[in-house]
């Protein structure tokens, strides 16, 4: 799927991804010439179709985690299936509020989600994970539902 700005006859480039609610995934595209933006809205079924292929609209912003598709796709996974990641020296500190929020993530995928947030913070020199950092990571990385 491509988007063409008819005014400029230029292909629009992927700009950002958003999750406005009710399972909708919005992929925003922008004309490099005139700056006009348009949003492609995918319903939950369409979003699921892309997700089941293990790909991300707009390109991957984080590398594949091991068993990413299984962890995020299986609804009946065991809470004890994966060992929680061990803290390493120089690890990012998690605030109480961030830990509470992480606790809302199903435990089958919690380890993977924690690693994604932690890697995000490490790459940016962030020493403490807070809900605000998690929000930024979600926006920057396009982590729908995490």
């Amino acid at each position: 799927m491509k988007f063409l700005c008819l005014e400029c006859d230029r292909q629009m480039a992927f700009d950002e991804r958003a999750v406005p609610g009710d399972g909708t995934m919005a992929a925003v595209f922008k004309c490099p010439e005139c700056g006009r933006k348009t949003a492609m809205l995918a319903n939950p079924m369409e979003t699921q179709l892309v997700s089941s292929l293990g790909v991300k609209v707009g390109g991957r912003t984080v590398p594949d985690a091991n068993f990413e598709g299984i962890r995020s796709g299986v609804a009946t996974g065991s809470d004890e299936a994966f060992e929680p990641p061990a803290a390493s020296p120089g690890a990012v500190r998690w605030s109480v509020e961030a830990v509470e929020r992480l606790g809302l993530v199903p435990s089958f995928v919690r380890g993977m989600v924690k690693k994604i947030y932690t890697d995000y913070a490490k790459e940016r020199g962030i020493e403490e994970m807070t809900p605000a950092v998690m929000d930024r990571a979600r926006t920057d990385l396009g982590l729908e539902g995490m």
Partner: protein, 289 residues
């Protein structure tokens, strides 16, 4: 009607990234399997012929002979390999090179959906209600791909892939592993099994997958007292399939009541090491592989 709008293929300033992402997934499988000498599928078009049991037995027999063996339980909806090999579900550990696979007492490295699901729960995917049929195939293919690519299999002489009944999973496996060494076919003697397996083998041949041979399971029962083999099923599917597809009949495994108890208890290794006619026949197959 010409609207003046360029076509999809004419608009190519920014090529789609999705094919690249899918190609990267396949490359990840290839990279992982670079340390695996041979990938062999175990299949049958028929359910209930003992594919998983024969896979587990063969893997154990090969491991006892010093081979480095892995076994993927590709029956995502009816996983049984962990129980057969005596592997208790436990937390998978994330190693530096991927998820470390648990090993059976004989040293067979295993991955199975049975290690990941809640006890006694069926495999269910997160999906809008009653619409999962649209993409379930893609999700299951994705799970098989992750079993191949994300597990730290290490150096292996053989990676067996125990396929579920039917033909679809073989097509998925072959697409992911074009250098598949071949398939071992399991049948029981009955005509019904011969019909189902014939269709599966026809599909495999059409895809250009090499047929390594046929193993006939539940091939009668041997009397302990006199050694006479008594038929359990009418038919000679093993021989007929081997002849039709010009492949060797690798073994005819007689039914062994002791094997049932060993399988349920996850104690296959003592049985494999035993001197029964089925264990000996299986050992010969392990030698040939």
């Amino acid at each position: 009607m010409n609207s003046g709008i360029r076509t999809y293929h004419e608009v190519d300033e920014l090529p789609s990234d999705l094919p690249d992402q899918m190609a990267a997934q396949d490359e990840r499988v290839s990279a992982r399997l670079a340390s695996v000498a041979r990938v062999v599928a175990v299949m049958s078009g028929k359910g209930g012929v003992g594919k998983s049991l024969v896979s587990a037995l063969l893997a154990t027999a090969m491991a006892r002979r010093g081979r480095r063996v892995g076994l993927i339980d590709a029956d995502l909806n009816g996983p049984s390999v962990p129980r057969l090999l005596g592997i208790e579900p436990g937390a998978l550990v994330e190693g530096p090179d991927g998820l470390d696979p648990p090993s059976s007492p004989a040293g067979v490295r295993v991955m199975s959906m049975g290690l990941l699901l809640e006890p006694e729960r069926a495999l269910a995917w997160r999906e809008p209600a009653d619409a999962g049929f649209v993409w379930r195939g893609a999700q299951e293919r994705g799970a098989l791909r992750e079993f191949l690519a994300d597990v730290a299999w290490g150096e292996l002489d053989v990676l067996l892939v125990d396929l579920p009944p039917g033909t679809q999973r073989l097509a998925e496996l072959h697409a992911l592993v074009p250098r598949l060494a071949g398939i071992l076919t399991i049948t029981i003697p009955s005509a019904a099994s011969r019909d189902s397996v014939t269709r599966s083998l026809d599909m495999a041949v059409t895809r250009g997958v090499r047929l390594l041979g046929v193993i006939e399971n539940m091939s009668g029962v041997v009397c302990d007292a006199c050694g006479t083999r008594v038929a359990l099923h009418a038919g000679d599917a093993g021989e007929a399939l081997a002849e039709s597809f010009d492949v060797p009949l690798l073994a005819r495994l007689p039914f062994d009541p002791e094997l049932g108890a060993a399988a349920d208890g996850g104690r296959l290794e003592p049985w494999v090491a035993g001197a029964g006619p089925a264990a000996e026949a299986l050992g010969r197959v392990a030698e040939r592989l």
